[in-house]
């Protein structure tokens, strides 16, 4: 397998402009002769489907939810970055580019990140045009807030519901195209296979989640915008339905999987309360603008109520360790610092796995109404879940699995190693390196969907003869359909005793224990022994009631868990092979005396892309060397 990044030549500021000009165009009258399938309807998928339809392509869009408006992008809270520099505080495209590369600990592709920073401003314009109600100042102009890993205010927001509002913008643009007949929408459809003919992606196989019907759909190109695989940890901030099935099945068809071990643990989530826990709820990073994080200095104080611990006995550990970024240190660093405090026995709450996020100072400084205006809905949500009032007692928070920087490998055109298969948003690996900064996921999803794929897919389609796509009765289509039917049959045939959720929880425990915030060789090797055991048990003792020809949520879950049981293994294998610490990937063997991550640029300044070799065979690790021409490789320093 050859990993050709297709990065255009020339100075970094000119690459995207040059590339857009060099890409071949599709004649307007010919566009309608090409059909594009978009899987996923979140920020990346929704934006792509709408934009491609506006250009004139025939588009089909698929999602597992009952409506495209419910994709998990909707849950993003804090904001979206844009290098507008409306506040004159020193922001620029170059600074956003620099912050993102540095935040990702120099494990992202420079050219992709620069393009992201360039189009960030177009995204803000587009969203305002669509009627996204961003927060404004009294003069009517747009307001900004700060986010982790940046020293400028560049984050645009709509209360604590920015993801919701951006997604509704994309959804409404998509619905407009559906109304015009330009997009055909298939909700409650789950993609279960990519159709690949002679090494080229030609369509997908789906299961209709209402009737159970297995159906094939052919097209000239397929875009996967199916999100991340954070649910491999079972407990995460992802929606219950988020899954890795689409990208995993594409991987097994020949798409390389890049950096699976780059998984982000978000520092501010509501802690676990018991074994029944089904998911974890994020408390937006934006809260760290006005909240101060602390634990008691002494273990003995942990049992006391926060109000009885005097100022001098509190350890504001982020402010102490990282004075220049303080509570706005990047996510990976903040998460590890919280774990460290709890490992030292200074954690708070019933389980001892928690730290305080305290708004007392801000409420005194700004008054409660101002805090309510900024974060009211988040405070309400916290109170609903915990039954505690965060205006009166500090929030309790703890890190949780949140986002996956790894994903299918793509080139500069967002094309995977399967020609014709494009991957957008969180599902690809491209822009965040080893750690994603806050408010950058919304930016990347929309950049890929609105401003990258509409150009790059044209370059691909221009090379295909219009009207040459395969027919539904092609033997390759029928064969792919059969593999899906067979797998469902195999799941039903097990007739064991345990639920899909049981196996998912077991996998999650192993992943969190050995491949969560801290990783080491012995632990990862242990995980690589345990995961195949759980998988074996799964294939011998799974129980799914009912049939495949009806609504069957157990069947849906079982298929996803089966894939996670394989994906988790690759994640651990990648973590074992990356013998360095970088960003969110923290190998305990590689740390400084102060517990900071120690990169090994000599050996690991590359993307690791895994190639599937068939069931039972070890996958092959390929590398794409990362060249830093515009920025200098430097040790991250947030002190």
């Amino acid at each position: 397998m050859e990993l050709k990044s297709q990065i255009p030549d020339g100075p970094i500021e000119k690459k995207w402009d040059k590339h857009k000009f060099d890409l071949k165009l599709v004649n307007p009258a010919n566009k309608r002769k090409y059909k594009v399938i978009v899987v996923g309807s979140g920020l990346a998928g929704g934006a792509a489907a709408a934009s491609l339809a506006e250009l004139g392509y025939e588009v089909e869009c698929y999602c597992y939810q009952d409506s495209p408006r419910r994709a998990h992008s909707i849950a993003a809270q804090g904001g979206i970055n844009g290098a507008k520099n409306y506040h004159g505080d020193g922001d620029s495209v170059r600074r956003l580019f620099y912050d993102t590369v540095k935040g990702g600990d120099f494990r992202a592709r420079e050219a992709n990140v620069h393009r992201l920073a360039e189009v960030s401003n177009n995204i803000i314009d587009q969203c305002v045009g669509q009627g996204v109600p961003f927060a404004r100042e009294y003069g009517g102009l747009l307001d900004n807030r700060s986010f982790g890993g940046a020293q400028v205010s560049r984050t645009f927001y709509a209360r604590g519901q920015t993801g919701q509002q951006l997604l509704l913008g994309a959804y409404q643009a998509l619905e407009r195209q559906i109304g015009l007949g330009a997009v055909k929408m298939f909700s409650r459809h789950e993609m279960l296979e990519v159709i690949v003919v002679d090494g080229v992606a030609k369509g997908i196989v789906t299961r209709n989640m209402v009737t159970g019907k297995i159906e094939s759909h052919v097209a000239d190109a397929v875009c996967l915008a199916t999100g991340g695989y954070g649910n491999v940890f079972y407990l995460s901030t992802n929606a219950k339905g988020c899954n890795g099935t689409a990208i995993w099945r594409a991987y097994k068809k020949g798409a390389a999987f890049a950096n699976p071990c780059f998984t982000q643990i978000h520092p501010t989530c509501i802690p676990v309360t018991g074994d029944h826990q089904s998911k974890l709820t994020l408390m937006s990073e934006s809260l760290r603008n006005d909240g101060r994080i602390w634990v008691p200095k002494r273990k003995e104080d942990c049992g006391k109520p926060a109000s009885q611990i005097p100022e001098d006995d509190r350890d504001y550990y982020l402010e102490r360790k990282y004075p220049s970024f303080g509570n706005l240190a990047p996510r990976d660093i903040s998460s590890r610092a919280a774990k460290q405090a709890c490992d030292e026995g200074r954690g708070i709450g019933a389980t001892g796995r928690g730290v305080y996020l305290d708004f007392d100072d801000s409420i005194k400084r700004l008054g409660q109404p101002k805090i309510e205006e900024r974060y009211g809905n988040l405070f309400e949500m916290y109170e609903r879940i915990t039954d505690e009032n965060p205006y009166k007692t500090p929030m309790r928070i703890y890190p949780a699995s949140h986002y996956t920087m790894g994903g299918l490998w793509v080139d500069y055109n967002l094309q995977s190693t399967i020609p014709g298969l494009f991957v957008l948003g969180e599902a690809n690996f491209s822009d965040h390196g080893a750690n994603r900064l806050g408010a950058s996921a919304l930016m990347q999803g929309l950049a890929d969907g609105y401003f990258v794929i509409p150009y790059t897919i044209g370059g691909y389609l221009a090379g295909i003869k219009p009207g040459s796509r395969i027919k539904l009765d092609d033997p390759a289509v029928k064969a792919t359909e059969q593999t899906v039917t067979d797998q469902i049959g195999r799941l039903f045939a097990i007739k064991g005793k345990q639920t899909p959720d049981h196996f998912h929880r077991e996998l999650g425990k192993v992943m969190w224990e050995y491949s969560g915030m801290g990783r080491n060789e012995a632990g990862l090797k242990k995980a690589l022994e345990l995961i195949p055991q759980i998988r074996e048990e799964f294939w011998n003792n799974l129980c799914i009631p009912g049939t495949g020809e009806e609504v069957n949520q157990s069947l849906e879950m079982a298929g996803r868990v089966a894939d996670f049981l394989e994906l988790g293994e690759l994640l651990c294998l990648d973590a074992l092979n990356r013998r360095e610490s970088c960003g969110a990937h923290f190998r305990e063997e590689w740390q400084t005396g102060e517990g900071e991550a120690m990169r090994d640029d000599e050996s690991f300044c590359h993307v690791a892309a895994w190639e599937y070799q068939g069931e039972g065979n070890a996958p092959v690790r390929h590398t794409e060397q990362l060249a830093f021409e515009s920025l200098h490789l430097a040790t991250r320093n947030y002190k």
Partner: protein, 261 residues
Amino acid sequence: MSKHLNLTLHVWRQKNTNCDGKFVEYPAENVSPDMSFLEMLDVVNEGLIRKGEDPITFDHDCREGICGTCSMVINGRPHGPKERTTTCQLHMRSFQDGESITLEPWRAEAFPVLRDLMVDRTAFDRIIAAGGFISVPTGSPQDANALPIPKVNAELAMDAAACIGCGACVAACPNASAMLFVSAKINHLGQLPQGQPERYSRVRDMIAQMDAEEFGTCTNHGECEIACPKGIKMENIARMNRDFLKASITYRPAVVGGGAG
């Protein structure tokens, strides 16, 4: 540690849209008050699966009150007893030990039951497709700050835009009217300068689609506002009616002529 609860559930079971449904009783034992309502149902379902019985089907996804997927009528109230709270955010501490809980799907002609507590809400998508947008193709808008928007309008737009499209308003309404949902979108876009060019065609088109989907009309019961987990106000309906009236009086179809040359 607070005391665990033992409850009796009366759950609407219906195999598919065409079958008749009925209530079936299930015990929910040893329920922690810290559990969310859906986590309680997860535990009941895992018990059913282990016995080889069909688990209770219900829609859910984000479980943090924002995606609008979860939908069930709990003891006669959409999303249950707690105000401004979706089912997924409802916690078992809101219930008493020994209580009986009745679970039903949204009931409305326009929301056919797909299975048990799961309904088809695609009618909402079709209403948005009819006009719930601003026509602005990708790449066409001007600079974001070129158009100042008074803070008060931006806030009012955001209040209306907070709708999660769950359908509780329809389920609560004796007429199964969708006017709270439709008016929220009309007012979100109508408050903003970008939304003005299509303001009156939007209200006509969305209401026409709403009627075509066989939702009822509003007779000012106000149940929708109480059921809404996001606090969308009925004043949106009044504003929509005003726009609709104006649109009906002033409507002129656009004259579309062919181009020359």
